[in-house]
């Protein structure tokens, strides 16, 4: 008997009597932009509001003028990145500006699917990360976020603030392995 069969047989023999799956109520909450921004700032992120998507360029010009290697499909990019870009190029990214799909007010997380990432490694290997999000796509909590999401697709991540660690004496340090800073540009109504 293979391990697979053995494990399945053991489960069958040992599992308890069937228990029904609970129904998850429609939990509501504060899905306001204010709460989203407050929580995001609490976890080390930064939020900037603009009127329209093209206004993002001005924000990048203002805050990231010193960064040379920018990759993005939304603003002016200086290094082209796609799924086949070699590691040596990816590694040089100073700033990635990527479209986010859903923002979650209760925890400041933003859903970024693979299709928006240019390369799966980009949101993580870039030194600084900017996510661009339509204000209308902010929801109250994770229940609403997953409902909107439907399927997680091939690969995707909720990203909440910059990379961080507290592994040395519980001292919070921003910029562990991933992005050293993280900004969200909110646009639209």
């Amino acid at each position: 008997m293979s391990s697979r069969e053995k494990i399945l047989a053991n489960i069958k023999a040992n599992k308890p009597a069937a228990v029904a799956v609970p129904v998850i109520p429609a939990f509501e909450g504060d899905g306001s932009l204010t709460r989203f921004k407050t929580v995001l700032e609490g976890i080390g992120g930064r939020a900037i509001e603009v009127a329209t998507l093209p206004d993002c360029q001005a924000v990048i010009n203002t805050y990231y003028a010193d960064l040379k290697n920018v990759s993005s499909a939304l603003v002016r990019a200086s290094i082209p990145i796609n799924a086949d870009t070699p590691k040596a190029i990816l590694e040089q990214t100073d700033l990635a500006v990527i479209q986010g799909e859903i923002g979650v007010a209760e925890n400041g997380a933003i859903w970024v699917p693979e299709a928006n990432m240019l390369n799966r490694a980009l949101p993580f290997i870039t030194q600084h990360l900017v996510l661009v999000l339509a204000k209308k796509n902010v929801v109250a909590n994770m229940h609403e976020a997953y409902k909107r999401l439907g399927s997680p697709g091939s690969y995707g991540a909720f990203i909440a603030g910059p990379s961080k660690t507290a592994d040395i004496e519980q001292a919070l340090v921003i910029g562990a392995h991933g992005a050293r800073s993280m900004m969200v540009i909110l646009y639209g109504e």
């Binding site: 391990s3 494990i7 599992k15 209760e106 997680p152 690969y155 592994d167 004496e169 392995h177």
Partner: protein
């Protein structure tokens, strides 16, 4: 060594013990601040517990559903009955990977946090077989440099002070002697590990949640090390205990809301990554591991322990863990949850762990999936006694006490003698640590002049 002996060693440094205690209590307080603003938090715990109950009662069918969907997504699924088989499977995957075959020079693997691979002792096995293994979670990298096991499942280096880390990094990464600033030390690790990420052939991650309906799995980190490793290497191996399964994507919402709040008091981890299909031209493998879990599933009193989502909240709140340190448990998962998981693996070796508790119940109060941890600790004690694994002093002490309590006259006399003795004997004898370990850090109260029974019969005389 057993828990009391290892705990005593830890306690020999009074200041450090106090510091450890306070540091973990600080994390517990952060947890409280993170959950109080969520009005439905208790309801979420109940839901999480029910979802896990439901999944465990249909675990075979959900595993098959998960396997089928994962395979349809182009993911290879492997099954391991125990730790040894798990390790062999991982080595086989690495050796047979198209991107590794024929490679000259060392095969390099980066790992993000996986308590399961600690449980299976994967690192030494792979290293013996010529694979370079680098733990990339900062805390895990620190303990890997020091050749120590993690002392906490979420904060692996919580037993170390920044001076210790500074010295370790000075030796291994060449940071200046005496450098102890967490910011500077983290930056040194970042530079060192970026190189490792870029060089790696294979990336291994744990699994926080696996979703049957889509064949996806979710990995949660704050540092971003899982995604960096996986997305730069050609091969991704994800190792999961079979109890990590949940039925549907909608159930993730409940667990994601609970996990980070319970673990570190954050509203969510920085990265909550959902892996479903491998990237073009890359390999993705999932290893489903039993290693004693089906046996635990068959123990009605203890199967609840399989609901654990490894948040570590029970450790942060436990008065015994906080004052004895993770290494005193000498098991992959320390703290209250480890003390109910370990006897299933080896009752003899871990027979003292169910006693590493005051049974105060704080662990059960904070558990996000409502495991009745303190009740199970109490039940394991019965099993330990029944299996004759109690130390002799405790065994005969209990037997003697049981006899005495069954004979009221002897009990009355014993009480009288003890009260008398406490009054006349010198402190050096009543508190002699060899005779009375209870008095190691405690003072006995003054002996009362009469027993409660005597007081009661005197005061109730003549009353109805």
């Amino acid at each position: 060594m057993n828990h009391p002996a290892l705990a005593e060693k830890f306690n020999s440094d009074y200041n450090r013990t106090t510091w450890h205690d306070e540091t973990l209590w600080f994390v517990r307080q952060k947890r409280d601040r993170a959950i109080y603003p969520i009005p439905e938090f208790q309801e979420l715990r109940q839901l999480a517990s029910q979802i896990k109950d439901h999944t465990l009662s249909n675990l075979d069918t959900y595993l098959l559903e998960f396997e089928k969907n994962a395979q349809q997504n182009g993911v290879h699924v492997h099954w391991a009955a125990d730790g040894d088989e798990h390790n062999r499977i991982v080595l086989d995957i690495i050796s047979n990977a198209a991107s590794v075959k024929g490679k000259t020079g060392p095969v390099r693997m980066v790992k993000s946090k996986s308590m399961l691979t600690e449980e299976c002792h994967l690192n030494p096995f792979l290293q013996k077989n010529g694979i370079e293994v680098v733990d990339t979670d900062l805390g895990e990298r620190i303990v890997q440099f020091r050749n120590e096991p993690p002392s906490h499942i979420v904060m692996p280096a919580i037993h170390l002070k920044k001076e210790d880390v500074g010295e370790t990094f000075h030796q291994h990464l060449g940071t200046p002697k005496g450098e102890k600033d967490p910011q500077a030390l983290t930056e040194a690790a970042r530079q060192h590990l970026r190189q490792k990420f870029v060089e790696a052939d294979v990336a291994l991650t744990g699994v926080n949640f696996a979703v049957a309906e889509t064949g996806s799995f979710v990995v949660c980190t704050n540092e971003g090390n899982a995604d960096l490793g996986v997305n730069l290497a050609k091969v991704h191996i994800a190792c999961m205990g079979m109890e990590k399964l949940i039925p549907k994507i909608e159930h993730l919402s409940v667990f994601i809301r609970l996990l980070a709040r319970s673990a570190t008091g954050q509203p969510v981890t920085t990265y909550t990554s959902h892996f479903t299909k491998p990237a073009k031209g890359k390999e993705m493998h999932i290893v489903i591991v039993d290693n004693g879990r089906t046996q635990q599933l068959g123990r009605a009193d203890f199967r609840n322990s399989l609901k654990c989502i490894r948040c570590g909240a029970c450790m942060n709140t436990c008065p015994v863990y906080r004052r004895s340190g993770g290494h005193s448990y000498d098991f992959t998962v320390p703290g209250p949850i480890g003390a109910i998981l370990s006897p299933n693996i080896d009752l003899h070796k871990y027979s003292t762990l169910p006693f590493a508790s005051t049974l105060c119940g704080s662990c059960s109060d904070v558990c996000p999936v409502k495991i009745d941890i303190h009740v199970q600790l109490y039940k394991w004690r019965q099993v330990v006694a029944k299996e004759n694994e109690l130390p002799l002093s405790k065994k005969w002490g209990m037997k003697g006490l049981a006899k005495m309590l069954a004979m009221p006259k002897v009990y009355d006399l014993g009480g009288k003698l003890a009260r008398g003795a406490l009054r006349v004997l010198p402190h050096g004898i009543t508190h002699a640590q060899s005779l009375n370990p209870w008095a190691k850090a405690r003072e006995l109260p003054d002996a009362p002049s009469q027993s409660f029974k005597e007081w009661y019969s005197k005061n109730q005389k003549g009353k109805s």
